[in-house]
Amino acid sequence: MNTRYQRQSFLGEGSQTVIERALIGIVGLGGGGSHIVQQTAHIGFKHYAVFDPQTAEDTNLNRLIGARLVDIGREKLKIARRIIKGLQPDARVLCQRVRWQAAPDVLAACDIVFGCVDSFQDRDELETFCRRHLILYIDIGMDIHQVDGDPPRMAGQVILSAPGYPCMKCLGFITPEKLAREAQAYGVAGARPQVVWPNGVLASSAVGLAVAALTCWTQNARAPVYLCYDGNKNLLTDHVRLQFTPKECQHYPLASGGSAIVTAL
């Protein structure tokens, strides 16, 4: 094994080969995605498909890992690529300056997809796509809520959605009500509060799940994973909904995988 990875040799014989072989997709290169880019590059991942149509703004600098003052106006893709290439010069990075829906063939090739998106709609579409293509999907997200008089409440989630296992709808994370509320509020949401440290906690956990899925170093790979983050208490715990989730997915049967076949009548 390369001495560079000596300190992570506990992951098992052959683990570095598997890590280097896997193609990971990162959708959204903001506060969460930029952490994932950095950590996966340190671990030794060498195949990436990264998606983000945006450029860095000064309001991103409080949380965008790897961004410098001079990067304002630079594509987030280029910042991500710089981080990866700085650690893995021979890495293959497919940069997509589009929403992932505009390059579905690139996303379909991924073995694991990290969803670092803002809306329930985006999450729902990503999970559906990953289920159809038998891709492990790991979702992270955080939000801050404030009710008059109370201190702000910081909450977040890390979810591992694996084909054949309960999905984010089974887990109650995505519901028709949430999708409808979000659709009604479209365009009026404004800038959501975001800070660097909860993104780091959530992204680190997501990367840990990906490494465990690939190397099985814990000898206890499980799905689904639904971790609930309480940023006020600095706690990451199993979500209570896991106890009441059906064993099999009710929404994405394995038989519905692949592209739909359309036949002329």
């Binding site: 896997a22 492990l136 084909p163 790979a221 038989a255 519905s256 995988g257 692949g258």
Partner: protein, 162 residues
């Protein structure tokens, strides 16, 4: 083309268990995976497995196993009814890369070509599983020649590459 197959571990387990069962007279067992195309021509996903019932095998001393007309008709009907591709599969109980016998090489391409005639918009193929690896060739929509299988990803809570 670097053809990749993705298969849920639960489906692979069902297939391996079925293919490992002994048969009253055949030396090995045969089954069919259901599969569908994806947005990438070089990526196929497996959606299920169908065993071949004991009575649909025919005695043939020249092959490890031979299935009869009814088994093939049933596979063809699945193409029409369920709009799924058919992958002929059998298993060799050893480690390392399996390879097709001369009987496999002679007969399976003809079977897969028949599947392709029936469902040209779907991928079809034949694979041989070993305990650790797989070998396969596929008829992919839009391609005249058979494509070699490069890898199989086995997907569950963890991810393995065969």
């Amino acid at each position: 083309m670097n053809l990749t197959l993705r298969i849920p571990q639960s489906v692979l387990c069902v297939a391996r268990q079925d293919l490992a069962r002994s048969h009253p007279f055949a030396y090995e067992r045969i089954g069919f995976f259901r599969c569908r195309p994806t947005v990438r021509p070089d990526l196929i996903v497996i959606t299920g497995y169908d065993a071949v019932p004991d009575e649909q095998y025919i005695e043939n001393s020249g092959a490890g196993a031979c299935i009869g007309r009814m088994a093939i008709q049933t596979a063809m009907q699945r193409i029409l009814t369920h709009k799924v591709g058919q992958i002929h599969v059998h298993q060799h109980g050893h480690r390392g890369v399996p390879s097709p016998s001369s009987t496999d090489s002679a007969n399976q391409p003809r079977l897969v070509s028949s599947f392709r005639n029936l469902g040209p918009q779907l991928p079809h193929g034949f694979i041989i599983l070993s305990n650790t690896h797989a070998w396969g060739e596929f008829a992919v929509p839009g391609r005249r020649r058979f494509e070699k299988l490069r890898s199989i990803s086995v997907v569950s809570a963890r991810l393995e590459f065969l």
